[in-house]
Symmetry: C2
Subunit: 251 residues, 2 copies
């Protein structure tokens, strides 16, 4: 069997998340597996770097799968993009070693969260960002985000329903900046890179920072929340639609 790694992009709006659901809801994994199984004419499983929730998007999700044939990767990529639904694309495919596993071998994941700070909802960005009307203080949010960098217990910054025992994660980088979305309008980008993330972690961290940026929460509450391991001490979770899995790194 030959092991192939692929970088996938999807618009999460019309999916019930990445992972296959037993009830037969429309999922990204479900659609990919359906197409691969059809091409190879046998049930084909995939591994993936990060599970994304309903309405969360990915610009660079990484998957891998095994198949018995040596593939012409150029033609295969075209075939996949013809057979995938309109909201999934494959960007890149390569042959990798037998032992490569897109989930287990990932050493970092990067997520980006997009916020439009205006008094109306931009029609081009509404599927991919949230609207915040109150003026955001960018400098204050940049200052505040430093508190999340490093190896920490993120119990206060994840969903209480996350049942992983170990809540320690290491955030390597965290940047907040303004960007022009294809020259049409300004958008705030929250870009965070960590070894891995707990359930809802990015959306709770961004929610906390937005409260700071709006001036309704003090920076010091972050350290207090870290010390007391209590989800209630962090900010409100923000909507899924502004979140993108933007990168996965390997050794």
């Amino acid at each position: 069997m030959i092991n192939y790694k692929a970088v996938i992009e999807y618009d999460g709006t019309e999916f019930c998340g990445f992972q296959i659901q037993p009830e037969g809801l429309r999922t990204v994994q479900g659609e990919i597996v359906k197409v691969l199984s059809r091409i190879f004419d046998k049930e084909t499983k995939i591994a993936y770097a990060g599970r994304t929730d309903t309405r969360v998007h990915a610009a660079n999700q990484v998957i891998n799968f095994k198949c018995g044939e040596e593939l012409d990767l150029y033609k295969f990529k075209w075939s996949l993009n013809l057979l995938f639904p309109k909201d999934i694309s494959v960007k890149f495919i390569e042959k990798v070693s037998d032992t490569f596993d897109s989930r287990r071998d990932a050493i970092w994941r990067e997520y980006s969260y997009f916020v439009v700070n205006d008094n109306y909802q931009n029609v081009f960005l509404k599927r991919y960002s949230i609207l915040v009307c109150r003026k955001l203080n960018l400098d204050l949010m940049i200052k505040a985000c430093k508190a999340f960098i490093g190896k920490k217990d993120f119990t206060s910054f994840c969903s209480p329903s996350d049942d992983k025992k170990n809540k320690i994660r290491e955030v390597f980088e965290f940047e907040i900046f303004k960007n022009e979305s294809f020259g049409l309008s300004e958008i705030f980008v929250f870009k965070i890179k960590a070894n891995s993330f707990l359930y809802n972690m990015v959306r709770i961290i961004v929610g906390t920072l937005l409260e700071i940026g709006k001036g309704v929460r003090d920076i010091s509450t972050i350290e207090y929340a870290f010390k007391n391991n209590n989800r209630d001490l962090a900010g409100k979770i923000v909507e899924a639609k502004g979140l993108f899995l933007t990168g996965v790194g390997y050794k």
Copy 2:
């Protein structure tokens, strides 16, 4: 009667163009007039800066309309955005002089055309750009676009069905550059500003430049086409979905 000017944004994908169609097809003007007439409880007409075709978008279309009431513009903008369909937003409203006319008073219009130069269709940009797989030579296209600047007869670069007698237009600025679409992928932007445009003029000019960028047309053919006033001498028209009305200027 008080005259109001508004800046409007719309995703053209699900509209049969801007202008009201007699057959009752879904149009941007039709939707705006419906909402205004409902709010003012009387039939309300609008003037507009530029007519856009089916599937063409606008980031900054300008309209104006008259109404008998003094409006609270802050509240009125919120009401409009609540009543407009999801693919139209109002960005800005102001009171203007009685004589202001968004079409007649416009001294320039700016359009931008978006092209993804890759070997797969980006899922986030497919409604707003076209895909060109052959590698584009940006420097060559930048050099070529200078030939369109100035006051010229654009007969070769508009639809033969444009029945305006005077085909002379003045292009003030033309820029071609690469831009990161909200940090996720690279896009080529063709940004052109003129006093006004003939029917299909931007899409035929961009089509001609793309043929030059792909290496299948020589730069000198532009001057030849200008000299001979023949549509067949210019390039193929590109799809509507990559085109945005990005600005309108007034004195």
